[in-house]
């Protein structure tokens, strides 16, 4: 696996563009989309990796006998409402921002954070600093204290 470093966010591009390319084949005229959908080891290794994360977390949870509510109790305090619909709407928008940002920065917590910092990358250090700055600002300005 020496040709690629650890990452998670580009698998979202591979899956989203692959699905939408069935409805809109024009999408694959964009090099970026075509490159991510291509049937290469690197692209689909990462999709398999994030799928494996869900399996691993599921097994770990089952083996420990722990159980989780459908929504973490912190959200009621952070949002000031127990409405699941409000939480789902926020989660959708948060996911959108998260992946839009990760693709603009060309990496997420795994790619820039873990792989990038460990490699002493200058760009990744800037990206991680911006990520924590954005996260801390949002947590203190947009959410209530949990």
């Amino acid at each position: 696996m020496a040709e690629t470093a650890l990452g998670a966010s580009s698998s979202y591009v591979t899956v989203a563009d692959w699905i939408v390319s069935w409805a809109d084949p024009q999408l694959l005229k964009i090099d970026y989309a075509a490159k991510h959908v291509a049937l290469t080891a690197k692209n689909w290794w990462q999709v398999a990796l994030v799928g494996g994360i869900a399996i691993g977390a599921f097994l770990s949870m089952k083996l420990s006998g722990a159980r989780r509510a459908a929504i973490s109790p912190i959200w009621k305090r952070a949002l000031g409402t127990a409405s699941p619909m409000k939480r789902y709407a926020l989660a959708f928008n948060a996911g959108f921002l998260m992946l839009l940002g990760a693709r603009i920065a060309d990496g997420c917590t795994s790619g820039h954070g873990l792989s990038g910092l460990a490699q002493l990358s200058v760009g990744s250090t800037v990206a991680v600093a911006a990520m924590f700055a954005g996260g801390i600002l949002a947590a203190n300005l947009l959410l209530r204290r949990i």
Partner: protein, 206 residues
């Protein structure tokens, strides 16, 4: 490597990663949001531990010539704009792109909406990418800090790991992890739970 063997390897590595995320509690929204509100330091500790471990492993593998480094291009504007959006999304999702999948595996239903929103975000970027690249830059040198210092990568990586170990020891002294797990090990520490935990942690000598 064939696509099939890459997929099999990916699933196996993902399962290990998923176990680690679940056991370390960093997939919990309470841990992520708590970190961003600076009331819970479990995420930072797990993150820095993983960076330090990665740096030591890469220092050995790269130093002995087994792997080449794959740093990303230094596109400062894209890193800042993207990083700010990504961080905001992480806080409001209570997850990052990788741990969203761990939340789904662990049974959090809102994570399904984070995942779908993430797919739409990735799709939106794909359509916008030809317009954004001229603004944010297409290529840049893949600089690493040791290039500036004129020392080999392995030396810088080991130095980083050493510094991180010291930072981690200090962080753990200041904020012992047991006080930040929460009654249900989900990082949820409201005032009632917090008082319970301070009674419990009194039984563990520091």
């Amino acid at each position: 490597m064939s696509v099939l063997s890459a997929v099999v390897t990916g699933i196996a590595m993902g399962i290990v990663f998923g176990f680690a995320l679940e056991k370390s509690r960093v997939f919990e929204p309470g841990v992520i949001v708590g970190q961003m509100q600076l009331s819970n330091f479990i995420m930072l500790k797990v993150f820095l531990t993983a960076v330090a471990t990665g740096a030591v492993v890469l220092a050995a593998l790269n130093g002995f010539g087994y792997v080449k480094l794959q740093p990303k291009a230094e596109l400062i504007a894209a890193d800042i704009v993207g990083g700010l959006l990504l961080g905001t999304g992480i806080t409001l999702a209570g997850a990052c792109p990788g741990t969203t999948l761990a939340q789904i595996g662990a049974g959090y239903r809102d994570a399904l909406f984070t995942l779908i929103g993430g797919l739409f975000g990735a799709l939106a970027y794909s359509y916008a990418q030809p317009l954004l690249v001229p603004v944010l830059g297409a290529s840049a040198p893949k600089t690493i800090f040791t290039d500036y210092a004129g020392i080999p990568y392995w030396m810088g990586a080991l130095a980083l790991a050493a510094v991180l170990v010291i930072v981690l020891v200090i962080l753990e002294r200041l904020r012992p992890y047991r006080g930040e797990l929460g009654r249900d090990f989900d990082g949820s520490l409201n005032s009632e739970e917090r008082s319970t935990i301070s009674v419990q942690s009194a039984r563990w000598p520091a």
